[in-house]
Symmetry: C2
């Protein structure tokens, strides 16, 4: 780039290091900030720095947290008999947004993937087993992992490890998504949705 | 959003204020920064702040500049007989990237648009006339404005104002873009490219 301002060039270079942001988008964003009052940029960079320097992993569930333990772990109104195992913090957000789950979480930090050399030892599986060993309250473990080869492998691995405990182990339902059209659905999803069909009960709605 | 970390939530809120960045993209960017070493976030927010606080408008051509006058205006090797009039600093970048222009620039800061209540008085047209009045060196003014109704109106307005001076006034060529296919071109572009056809000279390539 041959920009009349070196400072703009440097800002564009930094912004375009973000994933999915090219040079042109970065330039558009930087020029936008230059047009705004300076407090806009101050708030933005302050919020990013504060998050980066203070956010850590919750000591209990390993999700992102401002304090040693996250707001969900210390919330006494959450059902501590149910534990939902997810891949990362983003999945917690998605599940929380549904408003359908009131238990606690456990973040694995990934899924088993031999291709990417991620074995069970690199995930928070040991701490999950430890938590279940210590905490006799837990009655049900919900495996909310992505329906991929890696997600399924991880689910199988955890299920095998948990067999020793008197627990109910469940997995989130797989099937046709809301609004999905049968004719465009892949065979595996459609086939599975037929074999794992549930009783139709209009009252449930 | 119901995120276990308030700081992440605040950072996402600030990032999603940027144009074209939604909540989900913002979250992806913030989580990316959290995974990186903290110096990445420090460099990013530092560069944004430094640009916002120090970048100003060049006193001469009104493009973005780190100093009172921009690097193009103070460059003695640029041809000061030619002045290219553009809408904003981004256009300078695009023209500089072609490597085909060696003169100076003048940034209008917009185009005349009665719909958006932007009259000639809101643009840097007076300072353009002043510059031409003072600077007898200038021989040619190139109008490099977008081929829109507003761009054309602005070009006409400036041309009328410049008639009093012994100047060559030109506009960038309009026609079929490189790689454009005739059959998909709109009639105005194609029609104009026929009426303003140029002599074919293979040596020019």
């Amino acid at each position: 780039m041959n920009f009349p301002s070196r400072l703009v060039e440097e800002a564009v270079a930094e912004v375009s290091k973000l994933p999915g942001i090219g040079k042109k988008t970065a330039l558009r964003l930087v020029l936008h900030l230059l047009k705004q009052e300076s407090y806009v940029t101050e708030l933005l960079s302050g919020a990013l720095l504060k998050a980066r320097l203070n956010v850590r992993s919750c000591a209990d569930c390993h999700c992102l947290s401002d304090e040693e333990k996250c707001t969900i772990c210390i919330n006494p109104r959450r059902d501590s008999q149910t534990l939902c195992v997810v891949e990362d913090t983003r999945d917690i957000l998605a599940i929380e947004n549904t408003g359908q789950y009131f238990g606690k979480y456990h973040v694995l930090g990934g899924v088993i993937s031999p291709m990417e050399r991620i074995g069970p030892d690199k995930l928070k599986i040991d701490s999950l087993l430890e938590k279940i060993e210590k905490n006799k309250d837990i009655r049900e473990v919900i495996l909310a992992l992505s329906p991929t080869l890696e997600g399924d492998t991880t689910a199988f691995y955890i299920t095998k490890k948990l067999r020793a405990y008197p627990l109910k182990i469940s997995t989130i339902a797989r099937g046709i998504p809301f609004g999905g059209e049968l004719e465009y659905m892949d065979e595996i999803t459609l086939g599975r949705s037929i074999t794992t069909r549930t009783l139709f009960d209009p009252k449930e709605d």
